[in-house]
């Protein structure tokens, strides 16, 4: 098993700085959804991680903790995530993305 980034929607959707989307070295790995967060009653949308693309560098954790001061991202073993976003379940819209969350581990 290996570590991937996991973003707390509760914390992220309260501020929604989007810094992590700009500092991840991997393309289309930390995505942003207007719906995720708002559908749970929060003010903003939230960032989320396409875990099949995450290389586990934790750069987003440093950025979230030290630049944004949000502490919303933690590194978690992928089999400890009950549901996560995968590239094949992400849909692009006009201004945002949506993701259907599914179990990241097969079997």
């Amino acid at each position: 098993m290996y570590l991937v980034a996991d973003i707390s929607v509760e914390i992220c959707a309260a501020k929604s700085c989007k810094l992590c989307t700009q500092y991840c070295p991997e393309a289309n790995t930390i995505q942003y959804s207007d719906e995720l967060g708002k559908d749970q009653g929060f003010k903003y949308g939230s960032a989320y991680v396409a875990v099949d693309r995450c290389k586990g560098c934790a750069q987003c954790v440093w950025v979230c903790d030290n630049m944004a001061k949000n502490n919303a991202i933690k590194m978690i073993m992928i089999d400890q995530l009950p549901k996560a976003a995968l590239t094949e379940n992400i849909t692009y819209g006009e201004k945002s993305t949506t993701a259907v969350l599914a179990s990241p581990v097969v079997g």
Partner: protein, 300 residues
Amino acid sequence: MSLDYVKFSNGFEKFMPKEYRDMVEHGPFGKKVTVSQMGNFKEVLEEHPMCAGCAMTLFIRLAIIAFPNPEDTITVGTAGCGRLAISQAAIPFVYGNYGDQNGVASGLSRGLRLRFGDKPKDVVVMAGDGGTADIGFQQVLHSWFRKERFTTIMLDNEVYGNTGGQESGMTNRGAVLKMAPLGKKFEKMDMVQMAKVAGCAYVATVVPNNPRRVESVIKKAVLIAREVGSTYIQAYTSCNIEYAIPTDKVMEDAKTVENDRYQFTEYVSEEAKQYLTERYGYKEFLAKPAAPAAAIPGKA
């Protein structure tokens, strides 16, 4: 090299992989995208084999987003880490022999001007410090002296990271590396000063811990290279493997190095300032209005 090549061939759409369909339908081609929209559109850069947490990858990602017209851009590279990612983008990439990337780009840039006339076709060279300052040094300098109209970007990781950690001309004096155990005995080459001496119209140093600044610098460099002359960007993109930087501390290192010896600098020639102002509406180079004279006590 146009929007035509990012369309589906008739009847093939349903057979294309999801990533390709997303790129055609929701990519940046023919639109204006900015770094603040990252995470909301399909990027030109795809998955690549570069190391986890690599600052060079982040810079390449930001640079490709900043290209003013990605559908009309060709990148040129050479041996080195960077080409592992640059070649995984949905824009044409020319892989030169080691060190000849600026020679290849010179011919390419001239050929595109002959073929397409005034329609802008941007050529951007992205190579490492070894490819630019050591092995490609002669062709880089000559392309600048000839005022070839394309952008040269040095991905400066201050080491030959791809081959095990030999010192390069851009390595700092005293740096001890796996393949330079006695420490480098000479100073880091001042390529910024050389670019100015060689007549580059735009020269900038940048660190990828400020995405908006990277975007601004790349845009200006590519636009100026369309008509004015050579442009050069030197980007600090640390090698977390050879310099043993923990991946979650890569941005902390970038910040430290930026404050220490890699401050943001920007040189824009007068001709380039005028060009950006008149052609693309840049306001930052306009003369500042004179401050109103301080009121003199006792006078109306």
